[in-house]
């Protein structure tokens, strides 16, 4: 039992120490944690299905994030706003996510055993093409109706796009305030809904197939499961959930950092999931939720704690990065050890 909750417990203790050192008020920390929970919550669930399918951490969820950004940018570029714009952005990003998900799935079927490094490189490569399109092609090759989003030179999209028409539309629904802490109940519901959805899927025949393929694709074949197809479906689902998650994230932030907004989400989501006690071979929705809470609490307090302890907020930043990468590195090492692949 203790072993199961080792990681979240460790993070929890660190967070408590962080809070007390940083001198931040608990209500501020709690507010921020709730905010980050609804902002980053959905993305983490995108990681669970590929893990269950035995493909490890899907670092190409960044592609899903790019799809979401493309949806928003196209909607804004076409001058659409309000409900119509929202629907357009949503349907565009879903379409992109499905198409790219299928592509990534096919790639991963070529590299059994090396899925993680491949998804990571795919993420980097997609980022390159994304930049090429929005920095070079838009405005020059691709015409734009709403020229306000272009850089002054006429080619390339600006670094920052205001998502005014979409800002906080979902967050503002059904907010409950207790003392000085506000709970956006609708959004909390949305995050929990996604978690429940993943849980539900795992109890369908499809979910069972995922588990079987994750266990052994050879044995899955013997009982008549087409592992390749199942793996592609898993990645498509992951990419779609990631793009939905990023759409939610962006409407919460209200600003779109065109060239950096999608970066590092895969790292933070993976690290949070691992912090919740998941491994690269098995993860549950509960671990995701737990991880979200402890990981982001630590994230909120560490810069201030660094400032207080060392008089240097940068150290808190380094600590944050170290925790994010280090958690994944640790999970990888612990899991891959003693699991001879030959």
């Amino acid at each position: 039992m203790l072993k199961k909750y080792q990681m979240p417990l460790f993070f929890f203790v660190l967070s408590i120490i962080g809070i007390s050192v940083s001198g931040l008020s608990p209500s501020f920390v709690l507010n921020e944690t709730v905010n980050r929970f609804v902002r980053n919550g959905v993305m983490i669930f995108a990681l669970i299905i590929p893990i269950k399918a035995g493909m490890g951490l899907n670092f190409s969820v960044t592609v899903g994030a790019m799809c979401a950004q493309m949806g928003y940018i196209i909607a804004i570029a076409a001058g659409l706003g309000g409900k119509l714009g929202g629907v357009a952005a949503l349907s565009l990003s879903l379409t992109f996510a499905i198409v790219f998900g299928v592509l990534i799935g096919h790639c991963l079927n070529q590299v059994p055993g090396k899925e993680m490094i491949t998804t990571m490189i795919i993420g980097f490569l997609a980022n390159g093409f994304y930049q090429l399109i929005f920095l070079v092609c838009v405005g020059s090759i691709i015409p734009v109706k709403n020229t306000e989003i272009l850089l002054s030179r006429g080619t390339g999209v600006r670094n920052l796009i205001d998502l005014e028409p979409f800002r906080g539309v979902l967050d503002k629904i059904f907010v409950v305030t207790l003392h000085d802490i506000s709970f956006p109940m609708f959004m909390i519901g949305v995050v929990l809904f996604f978690g429940a959805f993943i849980n539900y899927l795992m109890h369908t025949p499809f979910g069972k197939e995922i588990k079987c393929v994750g266990d052994s694709s050879d044995r899955a074949y013997m009982v008549g499961i087409n592992s390749k197809k199942v793996r592609i479906k898993a990645i498509v689902l992951s990419t779609v959930v990631a793009s939905l998650g990023h759409m939610i994230y962006l409407q919460n932030i209200g600003m779109l950092n065109v060239y950096t907004g999608h970066l590092k989400h895969e790292i933070f989501a993976s690290a949070a999931l691992m912090a919740g006690g998941a491994t690269i071979k098995d993860a549950t929705v509960r671990q995701g939720i737990l991880g979200l809470l402890v990981f982001h609490t630590l994230f909120i307090v560490s810069p201030q704690a660094g400032q207080q302890l060392f008089d240097n907020p940068a150290l808190g930043e380094y600590f944050r990065s170290f925790i994010a990468y280090g958690t994944i590195a640790l999970a990888l090492i612990v899991n891959l050890k003693n699991s001879e692949t030959v």
Binding site: G56, C107, N109, Q110, V111, P112, G113, K114, M116, I117, T118, M120, I121, I122, F124, L125, N127, G128, F129, Q131, L132, L135, V136, R153, T155, G156, S217, D218, S227, K228, F310, N312, A314, L315, Y318, F319, R320, S321, F322, Y325, G326, I328, A329, L332, I333, L336, K337, N338, E340, T341, V342
Partner: protein, 336 residues
């Protein structure tokens, strides 16, 4: 395979450069410097690759060792060749120390070294950031101007050993300058690696990389041999960053080494290395092609008034080649 596409692209860029009336002699000069400057980092991947541990995406670990070496040399204001030599020596020793831990971890995660090394590299950077911020060096030129503690992210090497090797024994023919000393250092190290792979130890590394069951069935101590390859890789990487920094003119700390592994890996793959085996020739061809493309694309992109494009293209080439190599190397696997 890949190098043909890249070479074709390079020819295209050269043609473009001619068309835009660029000074080809200057570019040629620079291409040699860029080649040797990055070359050692690429070479450093070879021993681990040949030992079957995959591409060393944890290159930042070795690089960091070299950076520490240089910091110590700069702290004591060592200049010129002496400074370089001491940096490389110290860096090498620190790399040896790092490789004891790094190597053992990678041996434990056999078969998944690449993803593990990537994240070890990634998490090592912020850990070292603590070190850079807190280490009590005294040379004012290395420290943050305000506050006076913690190393700067970018330390100018001008007073110490900027271009020491670039200018060593350089040969001038008209406008053309051949950085003979720099190329000589690269040549010696490349030659040593080549020689090493002819020795029995070198051959044992290749055997482990090709088939570790065979190596075991021949009575070899596979773990020891893998550790040896990690040691060599890390030491070369440490020396490599010293050579890099003297050409670059700056000592870049903090997050600078974070993504340095990827272009190096890509260069080796462009030269024709597979995901399982690489030679000195692969490294030489690959580094030259990769660096020349980058070199040419910068002024061309500026001419086209789209300066970002060179960085983007470099990014796409880097990751495109790595992805291509991954997809090709695993063909015939379980799902093929």
């Amino acid at each position: 395979m890949a190098y043909k596409i890249i070479a074709g692209f390079l020819v295209l860029l050269v043609a473009l450069a001619f068309h835009l009336h660029m000074d080809m002699i200057v570019l040629l000069n620079l291409s040699f410097i860029k080649f040797a400057m990055n070359g050692l980092l690429v070479l450093s991947l070879i021993p681990m690759l040949n030992a079957g541990m995959g591409m060393n995406f944890g290159l930042p670990v070795g690089i960091t060792a070299g950076l520490i070496g240089m910091c110590i040399a700069v702290n004591f204001k060592l200049t010129g060749l002496v400074g370089l030599l001491i940096s490389a020596l110290l860096g090498g020793f620190i790399a040896l120390a790092f490789s004891e831990v790094y190597g053992r971890i990678l041996i434990a995660v056999k078969g998944r070294e690449e993803i593990a090394s990537t994240f070890i590299g990634f998490s090592f950077i912020p850990l070292m950031n603590f070190f850079w911020s807190l280490v009590p060096f005294s040379n004012r030129q290395m420290l943050y101007p305000i506050g006076g503690s913690g190393l700067r992210p970018r330390i100018g090497l001008n007073p110490y050993f900027t271009s020491t090797l670039d200018q060593l024994w350089s040969i001038k023919v008209g406008n053309f300058v051949l950085p003979f000393g720099l190329l000589l250092v690269y040549g010696i190290i490349a030659g040593l690696i080549h020689y090493f792979f002819k020795t029995t130890s070198g051959k044992s590394i290749c055997a482990v990389g090709e088939n570790d069951a065979f190596a075991k069935a021949s009575g070899l101590n596979v773990k020891k041999i893998k550790l040896l390859s990690v040691r060599i890789s890390l030491v070369i990487a440490a020396v490599g960053i010293v050579v890099y920094a003297q050409s670059f003119g700056f000592l870049e700390l903090y997050d600078a080494p974070l993504m340095m592994a990827f272009p190096a890996v890509s260069a080796l793959l462009i030269g024709g290395a597979s995901a399982k085996k690489g030679t000195i020739i692969h490294a030489i061809i690959g580094t030259y092609l990769f660096q020349s493309i980058y070199l040419l694309s910068v002024p061309i992109a500026n001419e086209l008034l789209l300066p970002e494009i060179s960085e983007i293209v470099r990014n796409i080439i880097t990751n495109g080649i790595i992805l291509y190599a991954l997809l090709i190397s695993e063909k015939g696997g379980r799902y093929a």
